[in-house]
Symmetry: C2
Subunit: 137 residues, 2 copies
Amino acid sequence: MTDAPRLKIKIQIHSGDEIAMGPGKADLLDAIRVEGSISAAGRAMGMSYRRAWLLVDVMNRCWHAPLVHTAPGRAATSGARLTELGEAVLRRYRSLQEGIATASCGADYDALAACLLAEPRASQKDREAVASPLAGD
Amino acid sequence: MTDAPRLKIKIQIHSGDEIAMGPGKADLLDAIRVEGSISAAGRAMGMSYRRAWLLVDVMNRCWHAPLVHTAPGRAATSGARLTELGEAVLRRYRSLQEGIATASCGADYDALAACLLAEPRASQKDREAVASPLAGD
């Protein structure tokens, strides 16, 4: 009853109103390391080049130095790689995720997992029972 | 440089495709305890009655028993209170949050906070530097 995937922990690090690092940005950094360009990394993650570029732009503005270095050239085809700071931030973020995942495997999680259904009940019966405002929806 | 609010940790507990518990649902349970009805709790949190009702409906379907008991009567005005299981799940979830918040105050967070800007740099300069696909936006 305590299979870990039921618990999802999302760590966001904020700089002002921007999210400087989060699960999606960390995965994008991993993909840039593997693919060697922002466009290929975005493609590998099923996101548009524009979206991937915007995420990189935010990351490059929130830390003491950029996390991704982009080689000059036509943007969509030019290479990209993590800077030294990018590598360090990604490593620390992954380590933080691991530490928190370990911390979450305790008595509280076990107690919650013991009361949780693997699949939710259907909605209809409960809707009637609580006099649904959605009747007729 | 290590002020805690920069780190935001979101714990979601899933049941099938539904989120059985998360930060917003836990806050709604707290509000229902205080306000004594779903509509007043929703109002206190700035959400519509329909939205609050849907969140309660999901919570009531994902656990071994409902977390919120609604008194019979016209839905929008009738009272609501946490069940015994609702109280227990809320308490365990808050405890899990505290444990994880404690676990996150370590060397990894300190290292990240030391490289993080309090406010991100402006976007324009960087956009030019990486040959922005957004020029003219």
